[in-house]
Each structure stands twice: as C-alpha cells, then as structure tokens.
Subunit: 205 residues, 2 copies
C-alpha cells in the first residue's frame, strides 16, 4: 500500500497532489452548470462537486472554487441572476463538456465554442443543455463561504426537474446508466456506469 | 420528457420524491465512514455525499443528515473524537456496505454485524475498512449547519491517504475502476465504473 501523510501531501509535486486528492473521494458526478451573464452571454461550465442536500425541500449544492483570484463566470452570473441549470454529462458529450473547462473570454459562450446546444424553458432565464437527458432548474438560496480555503458552497432550491421518460423508473429513480450519464475521477478521467444491483431498504438482521 | 415543477415535487408521493431527488444529481461516490464511540464501539456507515473541497490543504466534506430527530452515531462520534476514516466501497462489498445503513443499536458494531473487517493504523483512533483499497484518515475542522433543512456540512482535513499501489497511476490519479470502487444513484442502486477516456487539460481552441 502507498501511504501519504499530511506532511507528504504538503510536500508532493503540485500536479501529483492535485490528481491524488481530487480522486481520493471516489467517483464524482459530471454535470454542466448553465448560467447567463448580465450581457446576455450564455455560460456553461463543468463541475464535479454537485451534491444532494435534501429531498423535501429539494436542495442541491455545489462547491465553487475560490473567487478572489480569477474570474469565475458561473459564480458571478449566479450572484447576479440567482438562477442556474444543472445538466448531466452524457457519454456522447464528454469531450465537449470537458472543453468547457478551458478559460474562454467572458464574451464567448461555451455552448458555441464547445459544440453544445442551448435550450430555454419558459420563465427560466438560464440555459439548459439540449443534449442532456437529465436536467434541473435551480434557484440560489445561499452562498456559504468555506473559511479554510476560500471555496464557496452554493446552496440552491430545485425548481424544475426535466428527465427523459426512458430513464425514469416507476419508483422515481433516475437510472444514470440508461441516460448514459458519466462520472469523473480526479480532474479529467471519465467513467461510464453499468448497473450492478438495486438493494432493499436495509434493516438489522 | 417528464417535467416536475417545484409544486409537483412538493406534492409527489414521498418515496417517489426521495428516489427522484436523490438521483437527479447523477452518480455519487459510495464511501464508508468509520468512527469510534466514547464506549469504544466501532461504528461504520455508508455515505453518498462525500465531496472534494480542496487539494492544498487537502480537505473533504460530507453531508450529515439532520441530527435533531434521530440518533446519528457517526455525527456523535465525530463530534466527540474529532477523527474519522473514509473508505471506498468495492464491488465485492456492496451488500455489506449497504447493510450498514440499517438502524442497529448503538452498542452494536456495524463491522461485525455487516461482515466487514476493522483495521487500525498507529496513532489514529478510528477504524478503517480492511477490504477497501482506497482510504483516508480525516480530522474534523468544522461542522457547518445548513439552515434550510437541518443538515450539516462536515468539513475535515485529510491527514493520511492509504491506497493500494495497483490502483495509483504515475501522475497521482487513483483509478476507481482498478479499485473496483462503486458509485451509487439514489438511495440504493449501485454502479460499477468502466474507464472511458482521460482528457488533457482543456485550453481554448
């Protein structure tokens, strides 16, 4: 077994550390967050930190990297408009989705630059990804600063869920393998999902 | 496409809503959190909400469900001892890992009840899972209450990473498919991972 102590982690080569610590938590969901700027430019960015926070009310979080050193269009747009969309990345769109992580100028829409299609629903001023079979409309509730490293937990209320009928099971579960939704490990390695087993609610035996 | 508005979500059958909203964020990592009680009982519980917060310093979060209504051994033990472990769930251990979600009495160790093996490393008073090929020792930094639903974001510093040599790539990336680590969707559906592609750092083209 390889062992890295806290001291080792601090002294590791930067890229090695980034790869190691970004992959140690296991598979992460690959999602695209869509926003619109005050100049009406549609923005799209890939995030692997979307996390379920609660189902009633339906709440979702994501971790925004520090905003004090570089331009963060997603963060700025959400703070200005309060609304955003979260869209699964499908296996057929991995390269386009990954490309949204490139640092485009703020007057460039990643939809156009990366080859994904904007889609709008009535009364929701943020762009969805037409290629995604699972998507949601989210309204910001709170941005919680994380004092330890300058990241921000963005907490939002899910106001709409739109899902292809073919991936929705009778009990409400969205099967991400039917949607060909992918996971990501570390910064840049993508994984397909294959269903192993669905287990019953566990009780002591 | 199926569409659920905020109103629909509030009015859905409870189980359907839980399944839907727990699966809408995409694949989640399946991890076991190990703690020890003040009475020296080893506790183990499955969580799907572990999230990367930063790599330098190495920080990890997880979402603790509300603690005011029911006994939460993991939360109580961490608040008492400050330390815990996070261990990947391997495909060979899905049923044992899922079984840790059953409500055992607080004097029962889920390791023994569910058939997983405790493992201890020097100077770390929290149990690891011997069957996991990827595991970390974490020290609590802060518990951040989420005002909207009573959940708590538990923020910890990674003090040790232990990983099987066979799953660690030269660039520091841990390949979760080599570790046979699994993902979970919703509450109870488990997925195996197969590597699709590793992409380069993206730049505008």
């Amino acid at each position: 077994m390889a062992h890295f102590s806290k001291t080792d982690l601090a002294e590791l080569d930067k890229i090695f550390r980034i790869n190691l610590v970004n992959s140690v938590t296991g598979i992460k969901p690959a999602n695209l967050i869509g926003t619109i700027s005050e100049n009406n430019i549609a923005n799209l960015a890939i995030f692997s930190s979307v996390v379920h926070l609660g189902s009633n009310p339906a709440l979702v979080g994501f971790v925004q990297r520090p905003t004090d050193d570089v331009r963060r269009d997603t963060f700025d747009n959400i703070m200005a408009n309060q609304v955003y969309t979260i869209n699964h990345v499908a296996a057929s769109c991995i390269s386009q989705a990954h490309q949204t992580s490139a640092k485009y100028a703020s007057d460039v829409s990643e939809f156009e630059a990366c080859g994904l299609t904007e889609e709008y629903f009535p009364d929701w001023p943020a762009p969805f990804v037409a290629q995604s079979q699972v998507k949601m409309a989210v309204r910001l509730l709170e941005s919680v600063p994380i004092q330890w490293n300058g990241t921000v937990l963005m907490i939002g209320a899910i106001e709409h869920i739109v899902v292809d009928d073919s991936v929705l099971e009778d009990d409400g579960h969205i099967d991400p393998s039917l949607a060909a939704s992918v996971g990501v490990s570390g910064l840049n390695t993508y994984y397909r999902l294959s269903r192993s087993t669905k287990l019953e609610y566990a009780k002591p035996v």
